[in-house]
C-alpha cells in the first residue's frame, strides 16, 4: 500500500475534528459541514434561516466599517436586546396605576439584577433612537436611497416613526412624575391638531387625562402592538435590501 494514500495514524486533532463536525448530530442541525471551505462557508449562510438574510457573497467595500458604521445592524441588535430585556422586565411589572411605580421600585431594590435589566432597557432604548437616526443619515449621505431603493427608504421612515412611538409608549410605564408629565405634554401636542386632534388624543389616552386607561393602552402598544408592527416593517426592510441588489454601490 502506498504511504501517500492512507497514513497509518491520523492526528488527535483530526479525530476530534471529525467527531465534532462530521457526526450525525451535527449534520442533523447544520446541513453543511464545518465552514472551513468556500463551499461550506456559502452553504453555512444559505442554509441557515438567520444568516440567509445575507447573500453568500458581498462586495469588498461593504465590509469596510466606515461604509455603514454597522448602524442599521446595530439598530436591529438593539431591538433584539430590548425584546429580551423587555420580556424579563414584564415578569415583574403590572401595568396598573396602583402597582406600576411600586413594581419599578421593587425591581430596583428586591429583584436580583432588576436594576441592571431596567438600566439596560432604558439605555438601549435611547441608543436605538440614536442609531436609527444616524442610520438614516448614513443612508442619505451615501446616496443609498436612490432608485431602485426608493421604497425601502420610505419603509425606513416608517421604522423611524415606529421607533419613536415605541420609545414614547415605554416612557409612561415607570409611572413616575417624569413619565406622567412627558406623556401629558406629548399627547397634548396630538390634541392640538385641527379638528381631529382632540378625538385622537382622547383615543390615545383613553380619557381626558393620562391615567389608568392611558397606562394600559401604552403598555399594550409598547409590549405587543408596536413591536409586531416594527417586526413586519423590518422584515420588509431587510427583504428589500436583498431584492434591490444589496447595499448601494458606485455606478
Amino acid at each position: 500500500m502506498a504511504a501517500t494514500e492512507s497514513p497509518e495514524r491520523r492526528s488527535m486533532g483530526d479525530r476530534v475534528y471529525d467527531a465534532i463536525f462530521t457526526n450525525r448530530l451535527w449534520r442533523s442541525i447544520f446541513r453543511s459541514g464545518y465552514p472551513n471551505t468556500p463551499r461550506n462557508q456559502m452553504l453555512a449562510v444559505a442554509t441557515n434561516v438567520f444568516l440567509h438574510l445575507h447573500p453568500t457573497r458581498i462586495h469588498r467595500t461593504h465590509v469596510k466599517i466606515t461604509h455603514t458604521f454597522c448602524l442599521g445592524g446595530l439598530s436591529f441588535f438593539l431591538f433584539l436586546g430590548l425584546t429580551i430585556s423587555g420580556v424579563l422586565l414584564m415578569f415583574y411589572y403590572v401595568p396598573s396605576v396602583e402597582r406600576a411605580y411600586e413594581d419599578i421600585l421593587a425591581l430596583e431594590t428586591d429583584v436580583r439584577f432588576g436594576q441592571l435589566m431596567r438600566n439596560m432597557h432604558r439605555w438601549m432604548a435611547h441608543g436605538m433612537v440614536l442609531t436609527v437616526l444616524m442610520h438614516m443619515m448614513r443612508v442619505f449621505y451615501t446616496g443609498a436611497y436612490k432608485p431602485p431603493r426608493e421604497f425601502n427608504w420610505v419603509v425606513g421612515v416608517v421604522l423611524l416613526v415606529l421607533t419613536l412611538l415605541l420609545s414614547f409608549t415605554g416612557y409612561l410605564l415607570p409611572w413616575d412624575q417624569l413619565a406622567l408629565w412627558a406623556i401629558t405634554v406629548g399627547t397634548n401636542m396630538v390634541g392640538s391638531a385641527p379638528l381631529l386632534g382632540e378625538p385622537n388624543r382622547f383615543v390615545l389616552v383613553g380619557g381626558f387625562q393620562v391615567g389608568q386607561a392611558a397606562l394600559i393602552r401604552f403598555y399594550t402598544l409598547h409590549v405587543i402592538g408596536l413591536p409586531l408592527m416594527a417586526a413586519v416593517f423590518m422584515t420588509v426592510h431587510f427583504w428589500r435590501i436583498r431584492r434591490d441588489g444589496g447595499l448601494a454601490r458606485p455606478l
Partner: protein, 288 residues
C-alpha cells in the same frame, strides 16, 4: 479536455472578464461579514452592560396628576417640537410641521432620483460644501430666530445703551401682535359656522372667528419663515453656484433639516428651564 460543453461560446470575452473581476472584488459573507457582525454585537453588549452598571435609569417621585413639575418636558426626541411650540400655534408646531417633515423625508428619493453619488460617502463634487453650508445655516439660523423671539437683541441693546429698545413692535414675535395698534375690527373677524362644516363629520359646529394679528403672529410668520428660509437658502446657493444639481440641493436641505432638528433638541433639552425660559437646565440637578 472539457467534453460535451453544449453552451455557446461566450459572446464577448470582455463581459466574461468583467464578471471575473467582479467576483474577485467579492468576499464571502462567512467569515468576512458574519465575524464583523459578531464582534460588533459583542462590543455593544459589553458597552451596554457597562453603561447599565455605571449609570442608573432615572426614576422620580410617584406620578401625581395634582403636581405639575416646572418645567414639564416631553421625551428628549420630541423636545424639538416642544421648542417650536413656544414660537407658533400649537397645531402648526405639534402636528402639521412633524407630519409635513415626515412626508417630505419619505419623498426624498422620489424627488432626487438621479443616480449619481450612490454607495460612497458624499461623493459628488460639492457634497461636503453643501453639507457644511446647510448645517451651518440651519444651526446658526435657528439659534438667531430663538434669540430674537426671546428678545435678546432688545436686552443687549438695553444693557449697552441704557435706554429702552426703540422699536417695541420688534421686541419679539408676540410684540408684533401686542405693540402694533391693529384696527379693533381685525381682532375678531366672524366667519360664522358655514366655513368649517364640522357638523358634516358628526362633530360639534364651530363658529370661526379670526384674530388677524394673532393669525399673522402664530401662523403666517412662522409658516413663511419655515418654508421661505429653506427656499431662500436654495436660491442663494443656486445663484452662487454652491448647489448646482438636484443632489446638491438635497444635501443642502437635508443637512439644514438635521441641523435645525439637533439645534432645537439641544436647546429644548439643556437651555429651557423653569417656565420654559431660556436658562441652563438639567433634569438630574434637583429632584432626582
Amino acid at each position: 479536455m472539457a467534453a460535451a460543453n453544449t453552451q455557446p461560446v461566450a459572446a464577448s470575452r470582455a463581459v466574461e472578464a468583467r464578471k471575473r473581476r467582479q467576483r474577485e472584488e467579492e468576499l464571502l459573507v462567512w467569515p468576512d461579514l458574519v465575524f464583523i457582525e459578531f464582534i460588533s454585537a459583542v462590543l455593544f453588549t459589553v458597552l451596554t452592560v457597562a453603561l447599565a452598571v455605571l449609570v442608573d435609569a432615572i426614576l422620580l417621585d410617584r406620578a401625581n396628576p395634582a403636581v405639575t413639575p416646572n418645567p414639564s418636558k416631553a421625551p428628549w426626541y420630541f423636545l424639538n417640537l416642544q421648542e417650536l411650540l413656544l414660537h407658533m400655534h400649537p397645531a402648526l408646531a405639534g402636528v402639521i410641521v412633524p407630519t409635513v417633515a415626515l412626508i417630505a423625508l419619505g419623498a426624498i428619493p422620489y424627488w432626487d432620483n438621479t443616480a449619481e453619488g450612490q454607495g460612497e460617502w458624499l461623493s459628488t463634487p460639492r457634497a461636503w460644501l453643501n453639507t457644511y453650508v446647510g448645517a451651518g445655516v440651519g444651526s446658526v439660523g435657528t439659534l438667531l430666530l430663538i434669540l430674537f423671539d426671546d428678545a435678546q437683541h432688545a436686552k443687549i441693546w438695553e444693557k449697552l445703551t441704557g435706554t429702552d429698545w426703540p422699536i417695541p413692535a420688534l421686541r419679539n414675535l408676540r410684540a408684533i401682535q401686542n405693540e402694533i395698534p391693529w384696527p379693533k375690527s381685525w381682532l375678531k373677524v366672524p366667519l360664522g359656522d358655514k366655513v368649517l362644516r364640522t357638523d358634516l363629520l358628526g362633530l360639534p359646529k364651530i363658529s370661526l372667528n379670526i384674530n388677524i394679528p394673532g393669525l399673522i403672529v402664530e401662523q403666517i410668520i412662522p409658516l413663511s419663515t419655515m418654508v421661505g428660509l429653506p427656499i431662500l437658502l436654495s436660491i442663494v446657493a443656486w445663484k452662487t453656484k454652491i448647489a448646482q444639481t438636484k443632489r446638491d440641493h438635497m444635501i443642502l436641505q437635508f443637512s439644514g433639516f438635521i441641523a435645525v432638528y439637533v439645534t432645537l433638541t439641544i436647546i429644548g433639552t439643556y437651555v429651557r428651564g423653569e417656565g420654559l425660559a431660556l436658562v441652563p437646565y438639567t433634569i438630574f440637578a434637583g429632584d432626582h
